[in-house]
Each structure stands twice: as structure tokens, then as C-alpha cells.
Symmetry: C2
């Protein structure tokens, strides 16, 4: 997908920092016009968040009824505060994305879903992270709780999916990927309804 | 914004890794119910991307006319490929968000804007990053190029803002924050048009 620019040539690549969850890689690149640049990028260190080098991650738009979506209040260490967002988590080794989405939903919201379908795949910060998350639409929910690794039970909230504006007005709702996921799900549901009206 | 849960108590905090752009901090936290957990979070190391600890960042929804938005093709080191996204960049020390947005637009798209207004502030991965980006709507554009630090001139594309679906169908368009920004801008423009029709 170069669209005019051939990909730069990798001159060298080395790990420059590592923690339990994150690793940082330094890349020396030569672009097609000869310009050379040093980049840093995050890669996962095993089961870390940074790179998504492992199985990747899932985010779930779970609908308990055709008008509402489930949101969680979760402690967000990057902000040292609680944030309102969609349930999500890393895919376990060997797990498929549908099973991962259902497990996270059971752990974080105490609900399972009869029907789970992929909506979109989102990147986080492609300039310096390889992380990708599979956004899944979960419907036909039923009560089922699995123990997760959360330090405390998450507070779960139902919100009308048509009313994204009032979420955006809240101070604790700001995660780009969750906002993208809700708009994509809302547009999908709108177009399905239009389709039904016509046929 | 605890909504039921008081914030966890910080038991300890130390830096566990550092590179030119990134730093990783380890936090020991005790939650209100007594559960203790170790978290890692990325913080900016000076002018780095990770934390946004400095002046933060801006992303621009720039409209050359009332129907189109400017997208850039940029090399994304995290994916080792070109990605289609919105112009964005870090705010320089002492720079305000409007000036930063206009400068990035001039550097990346060769355009300035007579009018720049804030649309929304988005987080990246609040669970482990403090990064926030100010999304700005830029209109009344004029030609003006500033030299940036890009290794090669960016290819700029005009796309109808009403047609986000065809962007989502493309393999090189996947950045969550850019998708959120486009939907928010599109909804804002739709509601302004509706308002104008009525009044």
C-alpha cells in the first residue's frame, strides 16, 4: 500500500529498552529518496500491551437489547483515574477472537453472548506501535460471570447507542478506539434498520 | 469520577525502563477493597510520544471545502508500512493548540487554515498511557507550506467526509483516533446543516 512511495529500507534494528510488559526497538531506515531516519517503536515483551506481538486484543460492543450498549468503569493507570470505556482484553494463546471476546465479556460484565461478529480492526498508534484490536459486536446476551484478573468488580453501565454525543460530553469518556467502535456499530445498526424497512 | 470506587492508593512508583522517546514506570497500587496490583505505564521521556507528558499532541480534521477532508499517507514504523490517517503531531514547548494544529497542517499538507476550532480530546490507551490528543477542525484553508521533519513529502488525499464507510473498507486506514475524529466531525457538520435548515 505504498501509493507512490516504496517502503523504506531497514538499515538496522535493535532493542534499546525492556520492562515486564514493554520493549522498545530502535530502527534505522533509509527512505526511497535517500533520507535516513531513526525511529523507535514499542513491541510487546511477551504478554505485554505494547506491541500486540502475541495474539492481539479484542474490544466488545455488547448490546443487552437493540438500543443499548454496555460500558465499564475501569481504573486507568495512565490517567490515575477511572475511565468509562468498552470491555476489552488480550487474546490468550491459542484462543480465537470470538472466544476471547466472550470470555472478556463474562469477566468484565458478567454476560455471555449467543452471537458475536467482527465489526472492524483498529490500530492504536501505528507510527510507533504494532498493536491491533479486533472490535466485536456481541448480541443475544445472557447472564454468566467468569472470574477475571480485575482487582475489583467493574461497575457496568447501559447507555443508548444512538446517544454518543452525551458520552462525549462526559469527562471520563475519551478513549479513541472505544469512540470509533461505538460510531461504527451505530452506523452498522442504522443501515441494517434502513435495509429492513426497504425489504 | 470514581462512580462508586474511590481511587486506589499508590504504594510505590519507580522507573523500570527508558529509551530516547519512551519511559516505563511501574506502579504498586492498593484498591479500595484491599487488592494490590502492579501496573506498568508509559510516560514520555522528554519529547517522546509515549506519555504526552509535555505539551501533548494535535490531530487535524482539515476541510478544503465543506464536503472533503484531507488525509495523509505516512510511513508507520509500528506496522512497517504506509498508513492513511489524519495529519497530527506533538505540540512544541510554549505553543498553543491552534498554532500547533496550523503548523502541522502547513508541514504535512502544505495548507494553512483561517479557522481552527477544538472538536474533542481523545486518549490513546488510558490503561497504560497518559497520552491525550486535541482533535481540531480546520476550515477556510489556504496554500502555505512549512518545512517539517518528514523524511519525504507526504502524499495528501481528499476524501468525502460523508463516506467514512469506504475508508473503513481500505486496508491502510485503521487508526482508531482518526476514525473517531472523522465520525465526530461528520456528526458535527450534519447537525450544523440541520440547524441551518431549521433556522
Amino acid at each position: 500500500t505504498g501509493v507512490g512511495h516504496p517502503k523504506p529500507h531497514l538499515l538496522s534494528r535493535r532493542e534499546v529498552a525492556r520492562s515486564r510488559l514493554f520493549a522498545v526497538e530502535e530502527l534505522e531506515l533509509r527512505f526511497a529518496n535517500g533520507a535516513e531516519r531513526t525511529f523507535e517503536r514499542l513491541t510487546g515483551s511477551g504478554n505485554g500491551h505494547g506491541g500486540g506481538g502475541g495474539g492481539g486484543a479484542v474490544m466488545i460492543v455488547a448490546m443487552p437489547d437493540p438500543e443499548h450498549v454496555l460500558l465499564i468503569h475501569e481504573y486507568a493507570a495512565g490517567f490515575d483515574d477511572y475511565a468509562l470505556t468498552l470491555p476489552k482484553g488480550l487474546i490468550d494463546p491459542g484462543e480465537d477472537i470470538v472466544s476471547a471476546a466472550n470470555r472478556e465479556l463474562m469477566e468484565e460484565c458478567g454476560m455471555g453472548a449467543q452471537r458475536i461478529e467482527p465489526l472492524v480492526e483498529l490500530s492504536l498508534a501505528p507510527n510507533y506501535m504494532s498493536h491491533r484490536i479486533h472490535v466485536m459486536l456481541a448480541t443475544d446476551l445472557y447472564e454468566k460471570r467468569l472470574p477475571g484478573d480485575e482487582p475489583e468488580p467493574l461497575i457496568v453501565e447501559r447507555h443508548p447507542i444512538e446517544d454518543i454525543a452525551s458520552l462525549l460530553a462526559r469527562e471520563d469518556f475519551h478513549e479513541g478506539r472505544a469512540i470509533a467502535a461505538l460510531f461504527i456499530a451505530r452506523d452498522r445498526l442504522r443501515s441494517e434498520r434502513t435495509h429492513e424497512q426497504w425489504w
